[in-house]
Amino acid sequence: MYSEKVMDHFQNPRNVGEIEDASGIGTVGNAKCGDIMRIYLDVDENQVIQDVKFKTFGCGAAVATSSMATEMVKGKTVNEALTVTNKAVMEALDGLPPVKVHCSLLAEEAIHAALWDYAEKNHIKIEGLSKPKSDISEHEEEEDY
């Protein structure tokens, strides 16, 4: 069902954990399946993401996309981090089954939520970032085949 990359990130998830005194924390839940993800960001004075950790209560795809997404944003500026969309994460994981696409949104939204938290705390505005919903829901019913 899952690609090898997904399985690798699921079995050995990178960046699991918490960051004390994080620059930004984002928690989102998936209204559809009830799963929850929390992202911790450590952003330096140049707006570069120095460290990132996550905790996920979710399916295999949720864990793997959390892991991959945190890998992908690490070292990026907060602006660059916005390019780490769920699509980009899925591609990096060699794809996800159709029913699992919504799981990757969880990671994207959690990062956005953490960035939003960071921006609010630091009274800055990140171009292209809008206030995250606490619950994300799917764009459309995916067909299960």
Binding site: Y2, M7, F10, Q11, P13, V16, T27, K32, C33, G34, D35, I36, M37, R38, K55, T56, F57, G58, C59, G60, A62, V63, V99, K100, H102, E138, D144
Partner: protein, 387 residues
């Protein structure tokens, strides 16, 4: 990796090699169409008759009351739709429960779209149907009560004989989805007042793609699949001879071994439940402690999501399943676990382990050890868990 430990016998079972042996001649040797005139095919007709007798005997029914189908879902659909069709002049109200299999629930939704009214009964925290609510839901236009014999997720068995008595008293037909129960626990249609009963071959070490509907003599029944004159003109389609022979053989074997099997399985199941409940904190047993299928254990591990747990068990060579939404293509958490009152996130962390007659104590020990590790690992990743 260790040998595979298959603990998902509620999803499907291995075809018993004896069953397969009984089926084999009917594929390429005795392959004739049972409706044919020539002697070459008459043995096939006879084989179907024997399978029908086997099944009937176990239920205490007459062979002429057994209609073979293409599986449990077809039997469920048939029972509900044909009853609705045949009795709609009498009324358009059906009573069922919130914890039925989707083959019942989605059929009820379909019937609702056709103008029928359906009452979905609540169950208590153990998954047992509320008899008081059932009694008070009965209306003059109620034509059918459909309550499953045993639940496929949490294993809870319903007070079938009591429901049967009530239905009879009120003159209402009573259907039970016994897909999980047939062959595993004793069922007698007369004593229990059952008018219709669905079962499926692959849940009792028989083949997939074959099942049956028991229909008590005298119940008005319409065809669901129209066409040829098979199954007393009630279910068209060339008979799946090997499948029917397999189902009959599996039923016979299950009946012969039921007592011993149930004793062994429930003993191991209790051992599994005891160890898990004692050794893994924040764990809940779902389903009734004693009135449950002999082979069913269903746990909720707080702070843990089901699919992740299943994948990790899989990596340890263990096949289990989850009430978790993600597994079934649907994303809603199990309607059964919600109906017994679990909050979403706990329903989401459920694990069903269903034993087979070849499950050993060593396997259970191994599973418990692995489960402890896995739950711990997932909890350490969970944003919900603070230790």
């Amino acid at each position: 990796m260790e040998q595979l430990i298959y603990l998902d016998n509620a999803a499907t079972t291995k075809v018993n090699p004896k069953v397969l042996d009984a089926m084999l001649p009917y594929f390429s040797d005795k392959f004739g169409n049972p409706s044919s005139v020539y002697g070459f095919a008459s043995g096939n007709k006879q084989a179907i008759t024997e399978a029908r007798e086997n099944v009937a005997e176990i239920l205490g029914a007459d062979p002429s009351e057994i209609y073979f189908t293409g599986g449990g879902s077809e039997a469920d659909n048939w029972a509900l739709k044909a009853t609705a069709d045949a009795y709609e002049k009498k009324g358009k109200h059906i009573i069922t429960t919130k914890i039925e299999h989707h083959a019942i629930l989605h059929t009820c939704e379909y019937l609702e779209s056709k103008g029928f009214e359906v009452t979905y009964l609540d169950v208590d925290e153990n998954g047992v149907v509320d008899m008081g609510q059932l009694r008070s839901s009965i209306r003059p236009d109620t034509i059918l009560i459909s309550v499953m014999f045993a639940n496929n997720e949490i294993g809870t068995m319903q007070p079938i004989a009591e429901i049967g008595r009530l239905a009879k008293e009120k003159g209402i037909l009573f259907h039970t989805d016994a897909v999980q129960a047939f062959g595993h626990v004793p069922i007698k249609v007369d004593e229990m007042g059952i008018d219709m009963l669905s079962a499926s071959g692959h849940k009792l070490n028989g083949p997939k793609g074959v099942g049956f509907l028991y229909i008590r003599k005298g119940v008005k029944i319409r065809s669901f699949i129209h066409g040829g004159a098979q199954e007393r003109k009630r279910r068209a389609g060339t008979e799946n001879v090997p499948g029917i022979v397999g189902l009959g053989t599996a039923a016979r074997i299950c009946a012969d071994t039921m007592e011993e099997r149930a004793r062994k399985e429930s003993e191991l199941r209790d051992y599994l439940i005891e160890r898990v409940m004692k050794e893994i904190p924040y764990t809940r047993l779902n389903g009734h402690r004693t009135k449950r299928l002999p082979n069913n254990a269903n746990f909720s591990f707080q702070f843990v999501e089901g699919e992740s747990m299943l994948i990790m068990l899989d990596m340890a060579g263990i096949c289990g399943s989850s009430g978790s939404a993600c597994t079934s293509g649907s994303l809603d958490p199990s309607h059964v676990l919600l109906a017994i009152g679990l909050p979403h996130e706990i329903a989401h962390g459920s694990l069903r382990l269903t034993l087979g007659d070849d499950t050993t104590r060593e396997q259970i020990d191994y599973v418990v050890e692995k489960l402890k590790e896995i739950v711990e690992k997932l909890r350490s990743m969970s944003p919900l868990y603070e230790d």
